[in-house]
Every structure is written in C-alpha cells, then in structure tokens.
Symmetry: C2
Subunit: 97 residues, 2 copies
C-alpha cells in the first residue's frame, strides 16, 4: 500500500493537534524532545516506543543521551510527512499522558 | 572518584586496541557505527548496551534509525576520553564477538 505524503494544509492541521511536536526538515519531518529523571526512565520509554514502532512497522530516527531522548518522525517511502507519522506521534504522546 | 582524561599517548595506544572505534570530537570521544539486519535486531543490541551502561553508570550518546546504530562514548566529567570509555567500548565489542 502506497503511503501518501500529507499536503501542506493537512500537515498544518495535524500539527495544531500535536502541539508538542515541531515541524523540521522543511516540513518533511516532525520532532519532539523528551526529558526524564534518569537513563533508566529514558530507556524504559524508548523500549515502549520500540514496541509501538515494531508493531506498526514504522520506525523513528532517535537520539538519546542519559535522560534525554529526541525523536524524529518521517516517512521515507512518502518522501516526507505522512499520516503514519501523525499516528505514531499520537501513540508516543499517549505513553506519557 | 575523579575520572581522569587519557593522555594523547594513552588514547592512541588504546585506540590501536579498538580498531572498530574512530576518534572524534578532536580526540574527546570515540564512535562506532553498527548495522544489523532489521530494527528488532538493532534494538535488542541497544537493550544489551543499555544494561551495560546502567550497570557501569556510564551512558552512551547514541542514535538509531531502523537497522543502524551509532554510538559515541565520552566522559563528560573528565572533559574528554577516559578509561571508562575504553572499557565500555570493549564491553560493547564483546557483545558482537
């Protein structure tokens, strides 16, 4: 199934619903930075995100150092942001809700 | 216990014993890139590294996307590379030996 890139209008609309995520790479990706109390907490969160990623077969680009995690979502197959990223962002947000 | 930065001589000597790690940040860190068959394998490896990191209370800076993992080791307390990084690199290498 082909994954379609969001139009600019759709992207802006979705981003308003995801206030903790920032548009980056000229609108081709979104990113969110997280801060936890320590590495154990940060990596536990990453493990939960990894489960979501594997289940959805949609994987983040991410960076971690100690208590900080930075997640970037984009859809390589679509050459930019797709609904898959938006859904993934919502799932990630829900982990911390 | 204070952690001492390695001298240039010590660093060069240790790096010869860690051929898969490259010096970076003007000698203040070392990095190694890993490639696995898929995300599941990459994240399993990361989980094992996380256990080592937590046990030693020495944490990597690392990046992952799908099957790729990039690990950078440095000792912030020492303002550069220390024996803790070397030992950690050896432990990580041993996971894949």
């Amino acid at each position: 199934m082909a994954v379609e890139q969001l139009s600019e209008e759709e992207r802006d609309s979705w981003l308003r619903a995801l206030p903790k995520w920032l548009s980056c790479r000229d609108g081709a990706a979104i990113e969110r930075k997280f801060e936890f109390s320590d590495f154990s907490e940060a990596f536990s969160f990453m493990t939960r995100v990894a489960m979501i990623a594997e289940t959805r077969d949609h994987h983040p680009e991410w960076f971690n150092v100690y208590n900080r995690v930075e997640i970037t979502l984009t859809t390589h197959d679509a050459g930019g942001l797709s609904l898959r990223d938006v859904k993934m962002a919502r799932k990630i947000d829900a982990l911390l809700a």
